[in-house]
């Protein structure tokens, strides 16, 4: 019986959607520069970043609400690799995140930060909204209203 409980517990902790895609910047680049008909929202965050965690539900909400309009949210976690198992994976599971989550592990930040956006000083949260036509970078926190206002500028263009 104990063994069964242990097995169940093991499965709760490790079965299912427990795989995390981890990229260096070169691996991430195509994911944040897609050339299709969708409106892409890319949010850089981490579980330890309080303002990031606070705004995550807004990104989840727009991902759901504007799905039909072709909106796709990508959450890029900057959690430290030694916290993937202890913090990030449990966080994704507990909060039942529906948007796609990937982790970026690339220490040479001075190389890739300007490649994400020339104006990014490096603070998070940070967000990119882009479609085929245009691309906008935001080094700021959003309220749900602010996020929708920005997003609508891209949707109405489509």
């Amino acid at each position: 019986m104990n063994r069964l409980i242990a097995l169940l517990l093991f499965c709760v902790l490790s079965c299912g959607s427990d795989k995390l895609e981890v990229y260096d910047y070169d691996g991430l680049e195509p994911l944040i520069n897609k050339n299709d008909d969708k409106v892409h929202v890319v949010n850089f965050w981490a579980t330890w970043c309080a303002p990031c965690v606070k705004e995550l539900p807004y990104f989840e909400a727009v991902n759901e609400k504007y799905k039909a309009e072709g909106v796709e949210v990508l959450l890029v976690s900057l959690d430290f690799p030694n916290k993937y198992d202890s913090n990030l994976k449990p966080f994704i599971k507990e909060n039942n995140l529906k948007s796609k989550v990937v982790a970026l592990d690339d220490t040479n930040m001075n190389r890739w930060l300007p490649m994400v956006d020339k104006d990014w000083s490096g603070a998070i949260p940070a967000t990119i909204i882009y479609n085929n036509e245009k691309r906008q970078f935001y080094e700021q926190s959003f309220t749900q209203e602010e996020l929708e206002t920005e997003l609508l500028k891209f949707i109405q263009q489509n």
Binding site: T107, M109, N110, A123
Partner: protein, 202 residues
Amino acid sequence: MKTFKLITVMVLVFTLSAFTTTEDKGYKVGDIATDFSLENIDGNKVSLSDYKEAKGFIVIFTCNTCPYAVAYEDRIEALNKKYAAKGYPVIAIMPNNTDVKPGDNMEAMKARAKAKGFTFPYLMDEGQKIYPQYGATKTPHVYILQKTKKGNVVKYIGAIDDNYKDAEAVTTTYVQDAINALLNEQAIEIKETRAIGCSIKV
């Protein structure tokens, strides 16, 4: 009519957002940095002008609660050990709003400094008036200043080195390289770098 209203709203939103993004971004390399008088963890006020013998300063906006800042604590202490005697002491400033981040309040700063054996001043940016003038956006965020007759000139802005994760794996020690150049009266090769950090809490 509806479209007109929508356009008006959009123009308004755009104008507002344009204003918020064009606000003062702080110092650039070559600017004169302001002095300050901020409370240290020992209760005394500290100003750059107190350091009569200094050739300059390694001003670091940092805090207790940011994982990147924590990852760099030992390296910040090492910088002070190495360069204070050569005329470039570390001056650490904690810029966060402590109502938002109680883990960065003065008591917590004292405890952290004691636990880690900090030998540099660790100052509270009371009222959050100094970091915006420098243009710091995150912790840790470094400004190397060189003392001149005109004032303290900003010589380097950015990260400590190029690997937050592993001090052993660092390939470019930006701050050390910049200070060494200043000490040897050579040009600083990399004057600005960027790194991920925790946004300063307002």
